[in-house]
Symmetry: C2
Subunit: 340 residues, 2 copies
């Protein structure tokens, strides 16, 4: 059902049947270390390139997901997936062997929000009984894509974030039980974001680039559904980090919305910045995806949180656009996740 300017409320909410997360060694040393399905201390995941490692991580995640839900690839009708690589090569080679019809997505670090939104729309409309939504990122493949060669050893400013080596995936289904496995949560609504550009050009300060888009979509979500921020146990952004969090809270305070009491950011949660040298926090589309599937859904499954707004946030740039002097616009997609 169409709600307000940018939102949908599902008449029959799709269920999050099962979820899985896989991370690299640094994430496995962080505060959420005991919540991921699997931690690989070898960040190469047994491969000989970083890009193949990211693909391997996706494949492992989907295999764990299918095993946990007692499903075969043929039981999944569509997969909605993306990563940060140019031309989505991590997803191409990671998902090739499953033979599931694929919708490739790019929303920078907001991709898990996009994948959950389109996946939920698809299941709620009766187009599929079961779909998979997935996103991943890998520290080394992302640094190679967006920043400096690792061997160069450049110093990172304190506003920089650390790309998470991680993958998160969920199965969305129309029934609250499959194979005697009960659903863990449900998606009751979405708010789809616009590109928002405040003209920030500092690619080492992604939080500042993305915060305006996060503020825009959170404000729109509250308006469209006529909610106060207190409606949600948590309003959870993807990877704004400490600097982006401050900007987000300030931007919303300026329009009389106070989320300071219930805001949480996946990028802040996944690392201990004091001991792990991650500066402003974690980032990458694997950050929000793995924290969703390695922390947030654990809290919702056990009813500790009854309703959250999950808002993965993306910074839209490439090295080409950056080197040609373009700004770094942001985009964010909001998903309402509730306990069953």
């Amino acid at each position: 059902m169409i709600i307000g300017e940018q939102s949908l409320k599902f008449e029959k909410s799709p269920y999050i049947m099962e979820y899985a997360s896989v991370c690299g060694h640094k994430e496995g040393e962080g505060p959420l270390k005991n919540e991921f399905d699997s931690v690989y201390t070898d960040d190469m995941f047994g491969c000989n390139t970083w890009e193949k490692a990211e693909s391997a991580m996706q494949k492992i995640t989907v295999n764990i997901l299918l095993r946990k839900s007692c499903l075969k690839p043929a039981d999944v009708r569509y997969i909605f997936a993306g990563d940060l690589m140019g031309q989505l090569i991590a997803s191409t080679f990671g998902l090739l062997d499953f033979g599931i019809p694929l919708f490739g997505l790019y929303g920078a670090c907001s991709t898990m929000g996009e994948a959950l939104s389109l996946g939920a729309m698809t299941v709620a409309a009766g187009y599929a009984d079961r779909i998979v939504s997935l996103a991943s990122s890998h520290f080394a493949s992302a640094e190679k894509t967006f920043r400096f060669p690792l061997e160069y050893g450049n110093q990172r400013p304190y506003s920089a974030t650390w790309t998470v080596t991680g993958c998160g995936a969920v199965i969305l289904g129309k029934n609250d039980e499959i194979n005697k496995i009960k659903a863990k949560a449900k998606i009751t609504g979405i708010t789809t974001g616009k590109i928002v550009d405040y003209g920030v050009k500092d690619a080492m300060n992604m939080g500042a680039c993305m915060a305006p888009a996060a503020a825009d979509v959170i404000k729109k979500n509250l308006e469209d559904f006529n909610y106060n921020p207190g409606e949600y146990d948590k309003i959870i952004t993807g990877d704004l980090g400490y600097i982006g969090q401050t900007i987000l809270i300030d931007l919303l305070k300026a329009v009389n919305i106070d989320i300071s009491k219930n805001h949480m950011d996946c990028g802040i949660e996944i690392f201990d910045s004091q001991t792990q040298d991650t500066h402003a926090g974690g980032s990458g589309c694997g950050c929000s995806a793995s924290v969703l599937c390695g922390h947030i859904l654990n809290k919702i499954k056990t009813n500790e949180w009854k309703k959250v707004l999950f808002v993965p946030t993306g910074a839209l740039l490439s090295t080409i656009s950056f080197n040609e002097g373009q700004s770094v616009p942001g985009i964010a997609h909001a998903v309402i996740i509730e306990s069953k």
Copy 2:
């Protein structure tokens, strides 16, 4: 309604309300020159970089589309769009100013099929009254991304295709008339493709890389709907070119499906390879998008063709995956377009 293994048939078919196409100078000298809405003889589109030129072309296309349909950006609920650039920068900067909620897509040259599929699913489910589906490519930005610097002047083998500088966009709507403008066609079904990898590693022979995926999705479409190839006036692939066309027809003949009489390829149609030095044909996600919006829909609007299967085809690679020795898998998405 779910049909067969990979297809959907829409109970209430979304309408193609209006469409628009913009191309560069070479496309404007080709066989379809009189069918595009606008031909720019300046391939820079007034900008100082190729990437900005591609963004400008997208912006011009959407503006023409909105003007033709007497709509404002606020009348469009979602835009489903993509291009070939790493991290979709052509779409980011091309669509930023419209302020329409965006789903960024990457399906290589199959992106227009993906955008039409998701757009049609969204409208048919009642999630939006009107959406825009769009894809673009630009010869120079694509050569820079995937091949050699233009200044290097490398020789192209005869199996190589020429990336189309073009953009095509449609408005899909739930009613067959808006603002007294009548709909031009309708989308009655889709078949969503899987990644198909025959292990081809020659990035200068995209037709061979993509033909297996096209064959797979066409076969599945005919099976799912229980059709013979003759059901369609035309079965139209995106950018297989001459070599890919031969492979496609042979692959399908091997499973007793003969599409030789009604197959057409956008990459073959858009250029005159004899006089325009384009070798195997045109390519790029702007190829199928601009031929759809600058030729195919003209034929359907006037009832010359009553029913076509539109199958944009994508080759999934980046320079990184290619240089690391990976193969070039293909993907294709099929869309059934019928006259009103």
